[in-house]
């Protein structure tokens, strides 16, 4: 199943405690960080706060899942934040025209991000431009498109159902003591399941690993590398659209400057999750834990009242430590 994965999942054998620890290093780091915050702040484990943390990681989580696929092919996509802005602006403006066109707003909004992401897809897959540069081009173009469409100003979303996506719960939270299941988290879970199936259970997924592992070998064995790369970037574009919709719903407006800098958080989650920037290896579960670690850090440091300046230093150090530990445990 993980033929091209290049990860050590296969060596996990029952009874071997040390290897068990190695394979679960990330989970242990995550639980360790949680334990520290839980001891330091009584609020950390309160149900409302836990729900809050999951909601906080949902948007970055979806972005990071798309980014995982791209990075496994050996690429990168810097345009994700700008693509999110396009979705938000497009759906907000459709709803501004006619507040009842919810489905149209969602489909066209997400579709717009997917269409614009084809620019990166063509440049990378067909023109063989380095993904960093190709997506940098899309990042600027997409931001410009969002600004032009929105005429530079934010557009408030007046459709209550749309904002429910970002702020609502599966059931009325007040019935269960104010603790509900946020719709944003449901979307993250659905996207995680879909990307898991695509990556591990389809030919397309195996080819994604193959292209990232060794492009020439993949080509020689009959994989259509151009096609695989193209559709990976477009799929990522769709996920950016979904994340853009989630953000617009959360902030109940389509803002042309939304999502600025989000690409870095997404890449950080992927890297903490153990995906190699060189391509060819990486896991969905790792990315989810990566996003969780970032979310827990953001939340816990705020709870502890750490100054915003120190927060950034601490976050930077923990990112390096997490990656180092993960690398160490993966070796040998």
């Amino acid at each position: 199943m993980m033929a091209f994965g290049g990860n050590k999942e296969g060596v996990l054998q029952r009874g071997n405690f040390r290897q068990y620890i190695r394979s679960y290093a990330l989970v242990i780091i995550f639980l360790g960080v949680c334990a520290i915050f839980a001891i330091a702040s009584p609020t950390f484990l309160s149900p409302t706060n836990i729900v809050g943390v999951f909601r906080q990681i949902a948007i970055n989580g979806v972005l990071a899942l798309g980014m995982t696929l791209v990075i496994i092919t050996g690429g990168i996509d810097l345009s994700v934040g700008s693509l999110m802005a396009i979705t938000g602006v497009v759906s907000a403006m459709i709803l501004e025209n006619d507040p009842n066109m919810l489905a149209v707003a969602l489909i066209v909004g997400i579709g717009a991000a997917a269409v614009v992401s084809m620019w990166t897809a063509v440049l990378v897959a067909k023109m063989k431009i380095a993904p960093f540069i190709a997506s940098l081009s899309t990042m600027t173009i997409a931001r410009g498109i969002a600004l032009v469409l929105a005429d530079g100003i934010p557009h408030t979303i007046k459709n209550a159902e749309y904002s429910q996506i970002g702020n609502g719960y599966l059931w009325d939270a007040s019935l269960t003591g104010g603790v509900g299941f946020p719709i944003l988290v449901l979307i993250l879970i659905v996207i995680a399941v879909i990307t898991t199936i695509i990556l591990y259970n389809t030919k397309f997924g195996r080819y994604i690993y193959a292209v990232g592992g060794n492009e020439h070998a993949a080509e020689a064995s009959g994989v259509n590398v151009v096609k695989i790369k193209f559709w990976t970037y477009v799929l990522n574009g769709v996920l950016c659209g979904v994340a853009g919709m989630m953000l617009a719903a959360r902030i109940t407006s389509g803002q042309p400057n939304a999502g600025d800098g989000y690409e870095l958080d997404a890449i950080t989650a992927v890297i903490i999750g153990g995906t190699s920037m060189a391509g060819g290896s990486g896991k969905i579960s790792g990315t989810i834990i990566g996003a969780l670690i970032i979310g827990v850090l953001d939340n816990g440091l705020v709870l502890l009242g750490v100054s915003s300046y120190y927060q950034q230093i601490i976050k930077g150090i923990i990112i390096a430590v997490a990656v180092l530990l993960d690398m160490k445990t993966k070796k040998r």
């Binding site: 199943m1 999942e9 996990l12 394979s23 679960y24 990330l26 989970v27 995550f30 639980l31 949680c34 702040s41 609020t43 484990l45 309160s46 149900p47 409302t48 706060n49 836990i50 809050g52 909601r55 906080q56 948007i59 600004l147 530079g152 100003i153 934010p154 557009h155 408030t156 904002s163 970002g166 702020n167 003591g177 104010g178 603790v179 898991t196 591990y200 953000l247 959360r250 902030i251 109940t252 407006s253 803002q255 042309p256 400057n257 939304a258 800098g261 896991k283 969905i284 579960s285 790792g286 989810i288 834990i289 953001d298 939340n299 705020v302 709870l303 009242g305 915003s308 300046y309 927060q311």
Partner: protein, 336 residues
Amino acid sequence: MKKLVAVILAILLVAMVAGCSGTVEPSASADTSQPAESSGAEQPAEDAEKVWKIGVSTQSWEHEFLKNMVNALQAIDESMPNVELVIVDSEDSVEKQLNDVDTLIAQGVDGIILNAVNMEGSSQAVVAAKEAGLPVVELVALTENEDYDTFVGTDVKASGILAGEIAAEMMGEKGKLFEIQGQMGHSAQINRGAGIAEVLAEYPDIELVESQSGEFTKDKAMSVTEAWLAKYPAGEIDVIIAHNDGMALGAMNACISANRPEIKIIGIDGDAEALQAVIDGTLAATVVDDVETESQLAVDEMVSILEGSAPEGQILAEYIPITTAEDAEVWLEKRQ
């Protein structure tokens, strides 16, 4: 796949721990609804006055004007024994602000002082606080959602009007004006721009040649100005108004390096560096936004609401125009 299973197990474990702690203790909702009794019981008698824990969500700690506000809030936190301010930084991200407010609510603060990142997006923070039954005082920046209790700040438009009038006076009521706007969509950009436009409507001989966004940053404003300096030769630019001092300083630097000292530059906020530039004569004027007073008013208003008074709805502070070195020195001393 096995790791995925582990993740799900870990999540369930955490959720269970949370669930357990929720049942062992009196339960979280009861916990947050009665902070008065519990904290009162912990620190009895000698401190008869209750300590109000107030969450403050700020737009950023990186722009100087907002840094002045954060400094003022920190000073208030130390000087007022009956308040504890939990000040958090949204790093200019609306999403982070919404998350921070959720975290503050979970932490059980008594009220929220919100310095909105932006008018539309930050509205959801007001909804969240109101759903949790907390009073909201907005500081400096407004949200579109008007369910907050009190807004403390300035009539932002008045600063645009003041800056516009200083410009008109300096130009002798006619000439060529340029405007460096803030981040598009930010309430300060919208209202300061509207104030400037209102003044210009009264002076038909003043031509607003170009308006460009400097995104509230010095370097962006500098490159906007450099482009103008290249496009318009000496005599075709009389005054540049910037929506904040940082951008005015950027424009000033561009004019100094291009050796165009005849251009008069006006900023808004009264940042220390801008005040110094007014003293040095390189900046024509700035409009002081007295954020220290506003921060104090916001905390006082929150305390008064928490102690049972009806909210004021709106508390406005006056802007102070600074066009002379003497005035600038007075304010510079306050802000250092």
